[in-house]
C-alpha cells in the first residue's frame, strides 16, 4: 500500500526560504524534537498545516547536521543525504515512540527539504546572488559546468511539479531517489511499497522528466 498522506504531499515548498532564514537562527538554540513529533502525529491525522510548520524545522536541522559533519570530518567521511536524513530523524522525532508510519512521513518531509536546499542553492547560483564559495575555484571555465548543473536542478524541480500533477506517486519516488539520494530499496521502504514498483515508477518518471526538461530547454534556446 502506498501511504496516501505521503503522496498527497503538496509541492508548495517554494515559500519556505522566507521562514527558514528566521528559523535557521532559532532552531539550533531550541530543541525542536518534541515539536516535530507532535507535528508528525498531527499531520498523520490529516492536519495539513502541521506539514507547513514541520518543513522549516527539518530543513534547518538538515543544514545544521551537514555543516557540523563537514566541519568535523571534511575529507574522510562520506556524507550522504540518506545519512543526514537518518540523523535528522533521530534528532527530531521521538524515535523510541515513533511508529513506522511516522518514519515514512518523516522521510517524505526530509526529502522534500533536501529538494528545497538544492533548489534554493541552484536558484541563488543562477541569479548570481551567491558565488562566494566559487572564488575558491581558480578557473573561470568551471563556471559553465556548475551553471549547467544548477540549471538542471531548477529545470528538474519545475518538471517535477508538473509530474506531480500527472502522477503524485512517481514524483515522490523521484524526490526521494534524486533529491533525498535514497536507493531503490530505501525508497520502497520509506514509501511502504515494493522494490519492483519503485523500479518501474523511477524508470518511467525519469524518462518523462528528461523529456519535459529537454523540451523546456529547447523552447528556451529557440
Amino acid at each position: 500500500m502506498i501511504c496516501g498522506r505521503c503522496t498527497s504531499l503538496a509541492t508548495n515548498v517554494t515559500d519556505l526560504s522566507r521562514t527558514v532564514c528566521i528559523l535557521d537562527r532559532n532552531v539550533s538554540e531550541n530543541n525542536p524534537r518534541g515539536e516535530v513529533t507532535l507535528l508528525l502525529a498531527a499531520w498523520s491525522k490529516g492536519d495539513q498545516s502541521a506539514l507547513q510548520k514541520m518543513m522549516p524545522l527539518v530543513y534547518a536541522e538538515l543544514h545544521r547536521i551537514a555543516r557540523r559533519a563537514w566541519s568535523q570530518q571534511p575529507h574522510n567521511n562520506t556524507l550522504q543525504p540518506t545519512a543526514l536524513i537518518n540523523e535528522a530523524y533521530l534528532k527530531l522525532a521521538n524515535a523510541e515512540n515513533a511508529t513506522f508510519q511516522d518514519r515514512c512521513h518523516f522521510f517524505a518531509v526530509a526529502c522534500k527539504a533536501m529538494r528545497q536546499i538544492l533548489v534554493n542553492h541552484a536558484k541563488s547560483h543562477l541569479s548570481g546572488k551567491r558565488g562566494g564559495g566559487l572564488a575558491k575555484v581558480s578557473l573561470d571555465e568551471v563556471q559553465p559546468a556548475v551553471h549547467q548543473e544548477a540549471a538542471e536542478i531548477v529545470a528538474l524541480h519545475e518538471a517535477l511539479d508538473a509530474l506531480h500533477a500527472v502522477d503524485p506517486r512517481k514524483s515522490m519516488v523521484v524526490e526521494m531517489r534524486y533529491f533525498g539520494g535514497l536507493s531503490i530499496e530505501e525508497t520502497a521502504e520509506a514509501m511502504g511499497t515494493s522494490v519492483a514498483t519503485v523500479n518501474r515508477d523511477w524508470r518511467l518518471a525519469r524518462s518523462w522528466l528528461i523529456r519535459e526538461m529537454t523540451r523546456q530547454m529547447n523552447r528556451e534556446s529557440s
Binding site: A66, T78, A145, R206, L209, I210
Partner: protein, 351 residues
C-alpha cells in the same frame, strides 16, 4: 479525432516496449494509435539519455555544505597529484588539471569519482572499467593512464594531459581536407587495432571520444564502456538495477552498429562500424545515418542505403570510399578489421 492516450495506457505500452530489444520496438509501437505511439516513442528516446538524472546531485549537496561548490580546491593533494584547476564536472565524476609531484610536476588529467558519488554503482563501474581497460593499453594513439587508485577524496585515474580538441569540435569548425582526414582516420584505426589485439573493445567510439592533440596526434579516450573479450558472453539486460541505462545502450545512437540495436553482443567489428560512421562524417561532412528523430536514426542504421562518399564530395579515393562503406556493412562479418582499415588509409594517403 482520437482521444488523447490515457496515462495508464502510456505506462503499460512504455514498460512493454522496454522489455523488447531496441530493434523490435518500432514494429511493436506501430500497433498503437498515433498519439500513443508518439508519446511512448518520445519517452523511450528520453530513456536512453544518459546525461540527465544520472545520479543524485549529492556532490552538489555536499559541496554547498562543504563550501566548495567546484569540488577540490587548487593546491589540494590527491595521492601524488596536486590539483591545479577543475576542467569538467558531472554526475559521472570530475576532471582536473593537476601536477604529478613525483614526476617533476608534469601535467596530468586527474579524473576523480568523489566520495559522494561512490554510492552510484553505474558511475563506479564505468570508472573502474576505464581504469582497467586503459591501463592495459599502451599505444601512442590511446590516452595513457599513469595510475589509478583510491584516495581520501575518492577514486582517481591519472591520465596523460592532452592539449587539443575533440573531433566533434574539429568537425564543427568546417570541412576537412581529404589527405588530412585519411591520416587522422589511420591513426584512430591503429589505436583500435591495438585495443582489439589486446582483447579490448571500446564500445563507445564517437567524435566526442577522439581527440586531436596540438601536435597532430589522434588520441582515443574514454574507455568507460570498454569490455574485455570473453568476460561478457551475452549482454545482460540493458537496464541496470538502478533503473538507469547501462551496457550496450550507453553509446551514442548515431554511431551504434545495427547488431547492438538488435540486442546482440558487441565485437571488434562493432567498433569498426562506429569508426566507419565517424570517418564517413569526417570525409563527407555528413553523417551517414542522420535523422530527425531517434526512430528515424534506428531505421537509417538498420536499412537505409548509405550513399557513396563520392556522390557528396569529390576527391575521396575510390578505395577509401569502398573501405568506409564496407566498415558500415550491416553484417559484422562483412566489415574489414581495424588493422585493414589502417593499412588501406595509409596506402591511400601515400599515393
Amino acid at each position: 479525432m482520437n482521444a488523447p492516450p490515457s496515462w495508464e495506457d502510456i505506462e503499460r505500452w512504455y514498460h512493454e516496449a522496454l522489455e523488447l530489444p531496441v530493434g523490435e520496438r518500432k514494429a511493436f509501437l506501430a500497433r498503437a494509435s498515433p498519439a500513443l505511439r508518439e508519446e511512448v516513442a518520445s519517452l523511450l528516446e528520453a530513456d536512453s539519455t544518459e546525461e540527465l538524472l544520472a545520479a543524485p546531485p549529492t556532490h552538489i549537496a555536499a559541496d554547498l555544505l562543504d563550501g566548495q561548490p567546484g569540488g577540490l580546491a587548487a593546491g589540494q593533494r590527491v595521492a601524488d597529484y596536486e590539483v591545479e584547476s577543475l576542467i569538467s564536472i558531472g554526475g559521472m565524476g570530475e576532471v582536473y588539471l593537476a601536477r604529478d609531484t613525483s614526476h617533476e610536476d608534469r601535467p596530468v588529467a586527474l579524473k576523480i569519482l568523489r566520495r559522494h558519488l561512490i554510492v552510484n554503482a553505474l558511475a563506479v563501474d564505468r570508472f573502474e572499467r576505464e581504469a582497467r581497460a586503459a591501463s592495459a593499453l599502451c599505444h601512442p594513439n590511446i590516452v595513457t593512464v599513469y595510475e589509478s587508485g583510491k584516495s581520501p577524496a575518492g577514486l582517481f585515474i591519472a591520465m596523460e594531459w592532452l592539449d587539443g580538441s575533440t573531433f566533434r569540435a574539429i568537425m564543427d569548425m568546417g570541412r576537412i581536407e581529404i589527405p588530412q582526414a585519411m591520416d587522422w582516420g589511420a591513426q584512430a584505426a591503429r589505436a583500435l587495432s591495438a585495443a582489439h589485439t589486446a582483447g579490448i573493445m571500446h564500445r563507445d567510439m564517437k567524435p566526442e571520444n577522439i581527440m586531436l592533440s596540438k601536435d597532430g596526434v589522434v588520441k582515443i579516450l574514454d574507455f568507460g564502456l570498454a569490455r574485455h573479450d570473453g568476460v561478457v558472453v551475452a549482454e545482460p539486460s540493458s537496464i541496470g538495477a538502478s533503473g538507469t541505462i547501462s551496457g550496450t545502450l550507453s553509446g551514442t545512437l548515431l554511431y551504434m552498429p545495427p547488431e547492438i540495436l538488435r540486442g546482440e553482443t558487441a565485437t571488434g567489428a562493432s567498433d569498426v562500424f562506429s569508426l566507419g560512421a565517424f570517418l564517413y562524417e569526417l570525409t563527407s561532412g555528413q553523417h551517414p545515418f542522420a535523422g530527425e528523430t531517434p526512430l528515424d536514426v534506428f531505421e537509417a542504421i538498420e536499412c537505409r542505403p548509405v550513399a557513396a562518399i563520392g556522390t557528396l564530395r569529390n576527391g575521396v579515393p575510390e578505395e577509401v570510399d569502398r573501405l568506409i562503406l564496407r566498415m558500415l556493412d550491416r553484417y559484422p562479418g562483412g566489415r574489414p578489421s581495424a588493422s585493414e582499415v589502417c593499412d588501406v588509409l595509409e596506402r591511400a594517403r601515400n599515393t
